[in-house]
């Protein structure tokens, strides 16, 4: 043991928390770790990074609270200001309305957004205030009214298109792919398409296969669009505002089951960045990347994990296209283990792309293969029990972390 310590002592950049800053490692805490891991060899590179071997329970003190601490990157903290409480769909509406007040070219189009107030009440009350033309009830013709929004955007308006369910936008795929994504390029930059396409998707409560689709995987290859997914009232409002203000076409993915989440958000105006990820819970042992509803499954699993002695770092990636490789990369460099938890299908989903991106960019920092938990490649069944088994549940997340951190 002494010889090994001597060997370790000569390298400069080894630290207890596995991140390779130039701090010298702290001898005492290392000892307990090494005594448990007698049988294992760990190879050190000249830079001092440890690869191979396994990290187990961390040596930093246990984090006592597993509740998500909302450490947003560029926003005011909600703790100090009073703020106001609202539900997620109200936050979306607030963001939309603030932008409509700010810019008279912002308009809404979709099925039942006007008189009906939106099938999830996101646009409730807006038609009475702003008129039938500004909050336009369209006929059931997704391809055409999405194309219409694109034409309107090219000629100076900023439409927000609502798909009553994201799945319906499959009918608008022609317009979204060919025109929304590509027109700015094929016109040589002459026309911009500042549309926002938003709607609820994801697996709900026994809504059946066609109403439970995750379209983010189908749209992700389209060049020229950005995709974001909101998960809390705070980021819903911020992302809605950012998406409307963006000159690029943005697809904002909401989730059917998250509309009634309640949170206290600031009174003052704020806009979030479309390209940044959100640090939900800093940690040391494993990076869990997630978005939308799975964030809540992950946080639930995090409670269990903390009780078991793990310290997961949870990041809500928020930006599905492009990925925020800076936040993700920093996390990978710190924890060296990645677990992706998503609701997309196994094949060709966001997780698959994220796995590829992390492998490509941060391969050297990984101590274990990336694990990606996604939904099963099955159409979502109606039966409640079957539906539960198609999406990732907290227990699976706990098991995966345990395996990853062995």
């Amino acid at each position: 043991m002494a010889a090994i310590f001597q060997g370790i002592g000569t390298t400069a950049s080894l630290s207890t928390s596995n991140s390779f800053d130039s701090k010298r490692f702290q001898f005492p805490s290392r000892r307990s770790y090494l005594s448990e891991r007698k049988g294992n060899l760990f190879v050190m590179r000249s830079e001092g990074r440890i690869i191979g071997g396994s990290k187990g329970r961390g040596t930093s003190p246990l984090v006592t609270s597993a509740v998500a601490s909302k450490a947003e990157s560029s926003s005011t903290s909600t703790a100090s200001k009073p703020g106001h409480e609202l539900l997620l769909f109200e936050a979306l509406r607030e963001g939309l309305e603030e932008e409509m007040i700010r810019d008279p070219t912002v308009c809404v189009m979709g099925e039942d957004v006007g008189h009906y107030g939106g099938s999830y009440k996101v646009t409730k009350g807006l038609a009475e205030k702003y008129g039938d033309l500004r909050v336009l009830d369209t006929p059931i013709a997704e391809n055409s009214f999405t194309g219409m929004a694109i034409g309107a955007a090219m000629t100076g308006l900023r439409p927000v298109v609502e798909g009553m369910n994201m799945g319906f936008l499959l009918l608008a795929f022609n317009q979204i792919s060919n025109n929304c994504g590509m027109l700015h390029y094929t016109s040589g930059g002459q026309f911009k398409i500042p549309v926002v396409i938003r709607g609820p998707g994801g697996v709900g409560r026994q809504l059946g296969a066609e109403h439970s689709q995750r379209l983010e995987s189908y749209f992700q290859s389209i060049p020229g669009i950005q995709m974001v997914a909101c998960s809390t009232p705070y980021n819903a409002k911020g992302l809605m505002k950012a998406a409307i203000r963006s000159e690029n076409p943005v697809i904002l993915f909401e989730h059917v089951l998250l509309y009634n989440l309640k949170e206290r958000i600031p009174d003052e105006e704020y806009v979030l960045s479309l390209e940044e990820a959100e640090m939900v819970r800093p940690g040391e042992h494993v990076t869990i990347l997630t978005y939308s509803r799975m964030r809540y499954h992950v946080m639930q699993a995090a409670k269990t994990l903390v009780n078991k002695g793990y310290d997961p770092e949870v990041i809500d990636i928020r930006s599905l296209k492009p990925f925020d490789l800076y936040t993700i990369g920093n996390s990978v460099k710190k924890t060296h283990r990645v677990l992706i938890v998503e609701e997309c299908m196994r094949t060709g989903g966001i997780g698959a792309s994220l796995t590829a991106a992390i492998n490509e960019n941060f391969h050297d920092y990984l101590d274990a293969p990336i694990v990606c938990l996604s939904s099963q490649d099955v159409p979502t069944p109606y039966a409640g029990t079957l539906e539960e088994w198609t999406v990732v549940q907290p227990a699976q997340i706990v098991t995966a972390v345990e395996q990853l951190c062995r």
Binding site: L133, N143, S144, G147, N178, S187, S246
Partner: protein, 485 residues
């Protein structure tokens, strides 16, 4: 009843530029007047077209359009047809024009002729003829020049293609010039045009310089889309040409959106003098596509200032219109959605122009959309790669005899609107323009590598944040075009 395989009579009538008559409207049109007042609210299918309110100062009799609250326009939840109050008004008082080109008894199609001529009495007259002049000399020469430009340009494109200066799919417009010239020359600068892949001549008519179009075809950076669009994606924000679309039908919703913006600007943004009109050009094949019908519905529903122009050249690559369509008379599909449907001889630029004038002013007034079916023909194949073996040579010959340029030339010379020398001068000038354009394109540079990643996003932050924390677009390799995104 049109038998499959046989072209209907109406599609093969000889050119009528020389046969405009000043007689009274045929009796069947008078009959239509009575039929027009059939009740619409009862839910009866609208079989006849609606007469277009075409008085020169017609807007005086219209009720003032509410500019303030759009809710007032669309509030009545009880009526089946949102725009029905206005329909009723039209049917009761407006004079029956030749736009009522159908009656339930016969399926005869009326091209625009006599009534239109009567309307033109107010135009300045030349010495020789009196009231059958539709255009002034300046206008005639302008139309002639535009059509000759279109033809010469397309012929040059064919030459350049076979010489290997351009590649891919190139769809030429030879034979259809009357439609483009007839419609687009009536537009103002702020009016928008949306086309399909057969868009070179629409671009030229709208005012995009020949140099910019041919450079685009050669893929040079001086092209109207910097070489990034190509033959099928001609765009010009200066000239309000909204494209150039490769998939058929995909431009129609975009045109509907541009028309929506026009209405929005007027009614929501309160720019009362904003009344731009959008023209959507597309072919017969597109008229079987869902987007066509969906947009007819929306445009009529909201009375958008748009004109749907069908360039029915009878062939969708190798698919004859008659083999693909249950009811080949496309203009009939307009009334089904509550807008007038008009059929016009698309080989006759003056007729097209008169129909266009009416449809465009109808849209500009705020009376809603029109569906115009132009019977026309393309002299070349579908694209330069099409061997064009399916079409009957006799059919081609028949239409070649109705060449719109030859017809206009004859009209100009007959009516003494211009001399042979003037027309020759125009042709020579156009040849020089086209040659100069080709020279310009040849000398223009190809796009450099640095152009690869530009214009993907209007805001290049959309490429995201790289591992080093900086936005990818700040990476110097980005401007070189070698960054990996």
């Amino acid at each position: 009843m049109i038998k499959p395989g046989q072209p209907p009579q109406c599609f093969s009538r000889p050119s009528v530029l020389s046969s405009l008559s000043l007689s009274n409207p045929p009796p069947s049109q008078k009959k239509d007047k009575k039929k027009m007042s059939s009740p619409i609210l009862s839910g009866a299918k609208i079989l006849q077209t609606l007469p277009i309110n075409s008085n020169a100062g017609g807007s005086a009799s219209d009720p003032p359009k509410p500019l303030s609250d759009p809710l007032l326009l669309l509030k009545s939840k009880s009526s089946l047809f949102r725009s029905s109050p206005k329909l009723r008004r039209f049917s009761s008082y407006s004079p029956c024009r030749s736009f009522s080109s159908s009656s339930s008894s016969s399926s005869a199609v009326f091209a625009v002729s006599s009534d239109v001529v009567k309307e033109e009495k107010k135009k300045p007259k030349l010495s020789t003829s009196v009231s059958d002049l539709l255009i002034t000399k300046e206008e005639a020469l302008e139309l002639y020049e535009d059509m000759v430009l279109g033809r010469a340009f397309e012929d040059m494109c064919a030459q350049m293609y076979y010489r290997g200066k351009m590649f891919g799919f190139v769809h030429l417009y030879n034979g259809q010039e009357a439609v483009s010239t007839g419609f687009i020359k009536l537009l103002k600068k702020e009016d928008c045009v949306v086309s399909t892949y057969r868009d070179h001549v629409h671009a030229l008519s709208k005012g995009v310089p020949a140099r910019a179009v041919i450079s685009e075809l050669f893929g040079k950076t001086t092209g109207c889309c910097r070489g990034q669009g190509g033959s099928m994606h001609m765009f010009s924000s200066d000239h309000n040409l909204l494209g150039g679309f490769a998939f058929i039908g995909e431009g129609i919703p975009v045109a509907t959106g541009a028309a929506f913006t026009s209405k929005y600007r007027r009614e929501v943004l309160k720019k009362a003098d904003y009344n731009s009109v959008t023209l959507a050009f597309f072919g017969d094949g597109t008229c079987n596509n869902g987007q066509f019908f969906e947009c007819l519905n929306m445009a009529a529903l909201w009375k958008l200032p748009i004109v749907f122009v069908v360039e029915n050249n009878l062939w969708a690559i190798g698919m004859s219109h008659l083999r693909a369509t249950s009811d080949p008379e496309i203009w009939k599909k307009g009334p089904a959605f509550g807008m007038p449907g008009v059929h016009v001889d698309g080989m006759d630029v003056l007729k097209v122009r008169e129909v266009a004038r009416e449809a465009i002013s109808r849209a500009r007034r705020g009376d809603g959309p029109t569906l115009v079916e132009c019977e026309t023909y393309r002299f070349r194949g579908h694209s330069l790669a099409d061997p064009d073996e399916l079409r009957d040579p006799a059919e081609k010959a028949r239409y070649a005899a109705r060449d719109p340029i030859t017809a206009l030339k004859k009209y100009i010379l007959d009516k003494k609107l211009g001399t042979e020398a003037e027309l020759k001068a125009i042709e020579k000038r156009i040849d020089e323009v086209v040659e100069d354009a080709v020279e310009f394109a040849d000398e223009s540079p190809l796009p450099p590598r640095s152009q690869l990643l530009e214009n993907v996003f209007a805001d290049p932050k959309g490429f995201g944040i790289g591992p080093d924390g900086k936005y990818r677009c700040e990476d110097p390799k980005f401007t070189e075009g070698t960054a990996h995104v």
